[in-house]
């Protein structure tokens, strides 16, 4: 049973296109995250949702829009893709502040290549 699943695993698209990445977790966690990992392996947080509510919104271009329809799902939509958006995007989940302390469980990642 996959704990945090992301789709698609690979995404190759042209500049200017709009694309979405989907994430689902079956761990019963109430907090989900999007991280971006660049070519130098730096993992940078983008967004965090707790029970469908946005709680962390880093300095990310507003072309990136997350959406959480329920606490088990967190999607990421990217408009007008640019070359610099090429990276691996990881979804993760964990317990929020009101629950026990656990580490993050990451999805397998989506490798986005903008050409």
């Amino acid at each position: 049973d996959t704990a945090v699943s992301q789709t698609p695993k690979y995404l190759v698209t042209q500049m200017g296109n709009d694309k979405s990445i989907k994430c689902e977790q079956n761990l019963g966690h109430d907090t989900m995250y999007w991280y971006k990992q660049d070519s130098k392996k730096f993992l940078k947080i983008m967004f965090s949702y707790n029970n469908k509510e946005l709680i962390i919104n880093e300095t990310v271009p507003n072309r990136f829009s997350p959406k959480s329809p329920d606490k088990a799902h967190l999607n990421l939509h990217i408009n007008s893709l640019e070359l610099g958006d090429s990276a691996v995007y990881f979804c993760a989940s964990s317990h929020g502040p009101g629950q026990g302390v656990v580490g993050y469980t990451f999805g397998s990642g989506t490798r986005l290549t903008v050409v």
Binding site: Y33, I45, S48, F90, G103, Y104, T105
Partner: protein, 110 residues
Amino acid sequence: QQPVQSPQAVILREGEDAVINCSSSKALYSVHWYRQKHGEAPIFLMILLKGGEQKGHDKISASFNEKKQQSSLYLTASQLSYSGTYFCGTEIYRGGKLIFGQGTELSVKP
């Protein structure tokens, strides 16, 4: 503010020990440790909360010095499977942003 890891890279022979350090300029609530193999997701190893407790996970353990805001990851009798990039992540309060260090690349050779 991003925590700083050292060393940036380390090469070991099987059976050797290694220590990876993580330092923060801010007072921390927690320190996480993860290992990421090439092309895979980061995998959670352990979490340390303020209080200076040490944790263990088979032959991998970690400590957290709250006074110095430093954590160290200890890998003893390394195995080939330990190879990968190790990341520390720090939170300054419960439920805050988990900010990762730049990573330490560990290679274990036969």
